[in-house]
Each structure stands twice: as structure tokens, then as C-alpha cells.
Symmetry: none
Subunit: 420 residues, 2 copies
């Protein structure tokens, strides 16, 4: 890294340059680009961007500078990074953070980064796929009790995602309105998308109860999609809720951004409840994102004769979701007893592990509890070959010490410090 001496800690404290860099990252890379996420996590937002810019200027990645910051990179990792720099370079010239920040100001939005107090901590569980920043109109659920809410817990930890089909039925909309209103009355926030159908019904229910709701958009926060929901989004903002996106104002809501947007809804929320969903649906994808994050998932049953409930029933059948029929059951699902599970404590270096051969021990040490890592990243961290890492991970998985999530490998809590 040309600045030299950057550490992970620097990423949270690089102030103005960091914020500006995150604004750039949010426009430069597609949501969920894990190479970008890993680079920023390793070097900090501004140094990582500086390195990318230097590499683009020189026409090739500057491996010496990168490895000075992040350690030796295995060949497959280099290839992934090189490909990423290529795809970013195509867009780099058109990224203008000042323009985006000005557009944000015009529509009453601001940039919220992991350095900010209202950054939703749950997003960090996305690891390398966590967003670089959020563009926010309105107020995010606060850490620390909101006036009117139950004082015990902070709002940021009391958010339930209510998601479902655009092609909803009057039954599903009624249930979404009732659930959202009842949740808000119990001091919870609601999160959903910005679509017609269940999304809109969930927000309407939250607004009816006078409470907080977060609409997470796939495009910029200055453009309602669909336009027919523009008024609803305005109401959310003026009523103390938030309209949020990880792409800058003006950005188009593409199909892939819709799919990636679902991971934000899941990560923002303690639990995700699917109210109505067809057999294949975006709502089911949000549910699977939540399940991968080890967050509880609920599904509202409906008539088996209703295609709009088929996705809910599939989630129930597959054991992805628990059957929920009212707000009490949703709170029970999302409640604190439910997430005591693994995610609470942060990583910290893993201790020594008994009964493991040296390679397995190093691979084990290269795992995090929270941030899923790819085999090649783990190999690189552990200083073993990818083949060795793969073999060791298989053994660790058999042993219950490691777990393979969709986003990569994590260490199993209780097995970081070599017990038994």
C-alpha cells in the first residue's frame, strides 16, 4: 500500500477520506462484491481505493503494495482481485462522490458509514458482502431507546423484516398490515422492500401504528420504484422511519441489485418473516439470506389453494422457517432468547486447538466466527495451499469445529479455543 502502515483499525477511523472513499465504493462496485469488501476490510476504505486507483492508472494491479498490507496472496486470490480491478476500472471514471453527495443533499439523504453511531450493526454479519455505506433518508432505528418504545432494548436490535410477494392477496396484505402494526405497538421496527403488495402493506401497517419502518431500495433513495409507492416512501420518512439504499442517488434498481438488496433486509433485522410468497420469489431469497446469517425465519401459512402462499409453505416444509400466525409469535421468534445463539461475541484470534495436526491448526486459526471466508482466503491467511486448506476444512467440518455457510467457512463457536 503506497501510504503504508494501514491496519484494519484504520478503516474505522480514516474520517473524511474514509467517508468519501465509501461513497466512491458504493458507486464503483456492485452490491455484494466480496472482493471489494475483503479489500476494504483488509486495508481500509480509503487506502483500498487508493490502491485500486493506482492499479488502474498503471494498467496492472500493484501486488507489492497490496501484499505489504494484507500478506501474501495465493494465485487464485490474485486472479480474483485482478478481474475485479478490471471490472471496476470500466466504471471508475464515471464515479463522482461529490455529485452523489450533492444529489443526496437535494433529496434529504445522507451517507451513513460503519463509523456512524446509527450504522446498523447487523450488517457487519454480512462479512465481505456487507455494504460500504448506506444512503439514508429519514431516521434509522437508534441504538438506545426511542421515545415511545419499550425502554429495555435499543431499537436497532428490535427490527423484524416483513417480506412477501408483489402479487399478494387481500389475505396476505391484511396479515402484513396487522403484523406490522402489532409489532410497532410492541415497540418493534419493521423492515421491508419498496414494492407493491406485502412490502407496501407492511409499511402501511407500521405507519398506522405510528411507528418506525425501514424501506430498503434496490436503486437510489431519490427514485421510488415502483413510482406508485413514492408517496408511501415519503410518509415513511416524515413519520420517523427511513428509506435506505446501498447504491447512490440516481442509481437504477437492476435485477441483481434487487437480489442483493434482499441480503440487506435480512441483515438489518433480527428475524425475517415471509407473509406471502409464490413458489419462487424474492421473499424466499430474503428468508434464505436470513437463514445463512443464522437469524430466525418465520413464514405465515395460508390456504393451500392459494399460489401466493406456496413459497411460505415450502419454507415451512423445508424447515427453513417456523410457522408464525401473529405478532406474539413473531416476537417470540425474534426475541432475545432466540438470538443468544452464536453471533454475539466477536472473533478475536482463535487459540490453539488440541488434537489437530499442524496444518489443520493453522487453517482453524485462519477462520473467523463471524466473517465467512473462502477457501483461498483461508489458505492465504493460514499459509497453506488451497488443497491443504480444503482437506483440513473437510476434517474440521466433520469434527464440528468448522461450518460451511454459503458465503464461506466460519469457525463453530465453542471451538475457537480448543476445548475438547
Amino acid at each position: 500500500m503506497s501510504e503504508g502502515g494501514t491496519t484494519p483499525a484504520a478503516s474505522r477511523a480514516d474520517g473524511g477520506a474514509g467517508r468519501r472513499a465509501r461513497a466512491v465504493w458504493s458507486a464503483l462496485v456492485e452490491p455484494g462484491d466480496e472482493v471489494a469488501g475483503a479489500l476494504v476490510a483488509a486495508c481500509g476504505a480509503a487506502p483500498a481505493l487508493h490502491w485500486v486507483d493506482t492499479s488502474i492508472r498503471r494498467g496492472h494491479p500493484d501486488w507489492d503494495a497490496l501484499e505489504a498490507a494484507g500478506g501474501e496472496l495465493a494465485a487464485p486470490v490474485r486472479r480474483r482481485v485482478a478481474r475485479a480491478v478490471e471490472r471496476w476500472s470500466a466504471r471508475r471514471a464515471s464515479v463522482d462522490p461529490e455529485r452523489d453527495l450533492a444529489a443526496a443533499r437535494r433529496c434529504g439523504a445522507r451517507l451513513v458509514t460503519p463509523d456512524d453511531g446509527d450504522w446498523p450493526a447487523g450488517l457487519d454479519d454480512l462479512g465481505a458482502a456487507s455494504p460500504h455505506a448506506l444512503w439514508v433518508r429519514g431516521a434509522l432505528p437508534a441504538r438506545g431507546a426511542r421515545a415511545g418504545a419499550t425502554a429495555a432494548a435499543d431499537d436497532a436490535s428490535r427490527v423484524v423484516a416483513l417480506v412477501g410477494a408483489r402479487a399478494s392477496t387481500s389475505y396476505g396484505e391484511r396479515v402484513a398490515v396487522d403484523l406490522a402494526a402489532d409489532l410497532v405497538r410492541r415497540g418493534w421496527w419493521v423492515a421491508s422492500g419498496g414494492a407493491y403488495g406485502i412490502d407496501a402493506a407492511a409499511h402501511r401497517g407500521a405507519l398506522l401504528a405510528g411507528g418506525g419502518t425501514v424501506a430498503v431500495l434496490a436503486g437510489g433513495v431519490d427514485r421510488a420504484y415502483p413510482v406508485g409507492n413514492a408517496r408511501l416512501l415519503e410518509e415513511i420518512v416524515v413519520s420517523g422511519g427511513a428509506v435506505v439504499s446501498e447504491v447512490p442517488p440516481g442509481a437504477a434498481p437492476t435485477r441483481s441489485r434487487f437480489l442483493q438488496r434482499n441480503r440487506l433486509i435480512a441483515a438489518l433485522s433480527c428475524a425475517t418473516v415471509v407473509v406471502e410468497a409464490a413458489w419462487r420469489s424474492g421473499a424466499a431469497s430474503t428468508a434464505h439470506h436470513a437463514a445463512r446469517l443464522l437469524r430466525p425465519v418465520g413464514a405465515v401459512p395460508g390456504a393451500v389453494t392459494s399460489a401466493a402462499s406456496a413459497g411460505c409453505h415450502r419454507l415451512l416444509r423445508d424447515g427453513v422457517a417456523v410457522c408464525v400466525t401473529d405478532a406474539d409469535e413473531v416476537v417470540e421468534l425474534a426475541g432475545p432468547t432466540r438470538h443468544l445463539a452464536p453471533a454475539v461475541e466477536d472473533e478475536g484470534p482463535a487459540g490453539e486447538v488440541d488434537g489437530l495436526d499442524p496444518v489443520a491448526r493453522r487453517v482453524h486459526d485462519g477462520l473467523s466466527r463471524r466473517a465467512p471466508r473462502d477457501v483461498d482466503v483461508i489458505a492465504a491467511r493460514s499459509g497453506v495451499s488451497v488443497a491443504e486448506a480444503r482437506a483440513a476444512l473437510g476434517l474440521l467440518e466433520l469434527d464440528g469445529r468448522a461450518r460451511r455457510l454459503a458465503a464461506g467457512w466460519v469457525v463453530v463457536p465453542g471451538h475457537e479455543s480448543g476445548k475438547g
Copy 2:
């Protein structure tokens, strides 16, 4: 035991005396009387009855004779047996098997005992609570293929209980009719009670499809309860199904017999499906009997706004039942593949996959992580042709996203969500 030398094996082979004794037992003791069941299992039906009669005549239990057959009895067991003999003695004089058998002949019923070829083997899983005999009008599902049914399995192992509330809705009745008819069309039998509502709808559905159904009554098979279902029960008998009870003709359907009857429905069937049930209901009790017998339990979901589905949702929430929405899912629940434990836990549908063409994406979605699937199953699930599925699978395999095992294709973990 005065005859001496009786063994459990003898109970299946004591011929005419055994049949007559079982007719007596079925009238003498209340359904589910486990003391009677244990005595008969230990000594055989006729010797056990002889011992009871001797004890009644003498005015006290003949422990020496009993222990000669069954080994030493601990004090608490002696007390239970003594109390049982007392309660049986009150009824013994009024039991007349010849009268009951004559009444059975008059209504076209016959006595079926464990010695008979059409004795439903599943009843034996009830252990000491298994019935002493069944009074049967019509034909029980045969061991060995019935004409018209799929030849592979015998009918006796292809029975599904469809149970539910008397206070059903038109939705529940429609689902019961459809499920029963579709099951019969697939070569399955249906079992249920004789009540209005879901019971009657299940039988009607089976009859519509021209197939076998078993009505298990709490009272004698000569008396329809409720009377309004008399005609339906006749139709069942003439259509090749059966009306069945463990109490003799003329016996009244008491409340406790209704509850005990539920265990017979569960034990007769490979799986029990609750179609509609209120929060507390007899159908839920049948489901719990099935669960105790380690038989699969299904529940049909319904609107959360319908009280008639509250019991189904409760079974789903409590993890007693699996969500089932059509006959295919019921067959999957009841079928042999379901009994092989590992197949039950499926990872659920894969999430979205970037960088795949639409056909490949659908094929990818049609794969499970755990359950290997054949190409034609995958094609059917994915809604593509078999040729398309085969081509796409080849590409997915090259790509490391799918893997061909001996038993079929699976998705490769870490590639369900296709990020990066």
C-alpha cells in the same frame, strides 16, 4: 396359568378358543386397557381370560397361576392387576360373545383378530394398548396388492389417516376431499373417523375416486354416530372399504372410546395428516398418537385468521407436524423414502445464482444439497426438459456448482448463492 405352558406365540395360535376369547376381551375391557393387553400378550387371549374367570369365581386373583406363566409380579403390578380384575368382574356376566357374534353377522360384520391375514400389522405397534380384535364391516386394506393399486406395495402399508375437526370450513372440506381422492388415485387408502366435517369429507373424497377408505368408529359398527353419516358408512362398505371398531356391535360411543379410537386411526396408518383442527381437538390427539408411534405427522396450513386451522398451525409450530399442501407431499411424508431418516433434512431450495443463464439457474434451483436427484426429477422440479436439464447439469458440473453422485445430482455447498 391352569392350562400351563402358554407362551406369547401361543396367543396367535389358540384358534377357535382364542377368537372367542378375543371377542370376550373386546367387550369386557375398555379400549386401551393396558393391563388386559399385557395379560393377553403374556399368556395368550384364552388362557388370560380363563385366569381372569377363575380369579373372579374365587373372589381373588390367583397369583400362583399367573406367576407360573408370567414370572414374579412386583407389588405395584399385583395391585394394578387386582384392581383390573375387580373392574372386569363387574361387567363379566353381561359379556356374551355368541350374542355379539350373532349381532355382527346380522349387520354384515366379522371379527378380525391378530391371527387373521388382514389384521393390520400397524396396530401391534400399540403394544399393550393394541386392540384385542376388530369388528369389521367390509374389506380392510389387504396385505398383497389390491387390484387397481400400484402393485409394488401392499395396501396395508399404504394407508394415510386424514383427520380433522367436525366444525370444519368449506376450505378444509374441499382440501380433505381433494387430498383423499388424489391419494386413492395414487393407490393409497384413507383412514378417518365417522364424524361430520373433515372425517366425512375424507371418506367422500376417497369414494369419489372409487377407492378404499376405512372409517374407525368409537361405538359398534352397527350404529352410525352421528346417525346422519349412516348412509356414508354404507357407501364405504359397498365400495370396498371398511367400517371398523374395537368394541362389539351395539356398544355405545362414549367419550373415552372416542379418545381411544384416535390411537387406532393413527396406528392403522403410515402417516396422519390433520386437515383442519381447532386449538384443542381430537384430531390433534390423533396426531400426537401418531407421533408417539414414530409415524410421520402432517398438517395442512390454512389462513391464520381461521380458528379452524389454529390446531394445524400449532402442530407445525411445535414441530409435531410437517407442512403438507397436496397429495404428493402426503405421499412423500408417508412413503418409504421418508422413513430413511437422512432424507428428511433437506437444505431447501438454493438461492439465486448469478452468472447463469435462466435454464441453468432453474436447474440449479432444482438441486438439493443433501438429497441426490435424478435428471428427470430435476427437470420436473425446474420446469425444463430432460435434455435441457442434462445439458445444464453438465455445465454446472464443469463449473463446480453441481456434483453427480451414484444416487443422483446434488448442488455443491458454497454454490447455492452464487456470489462473487
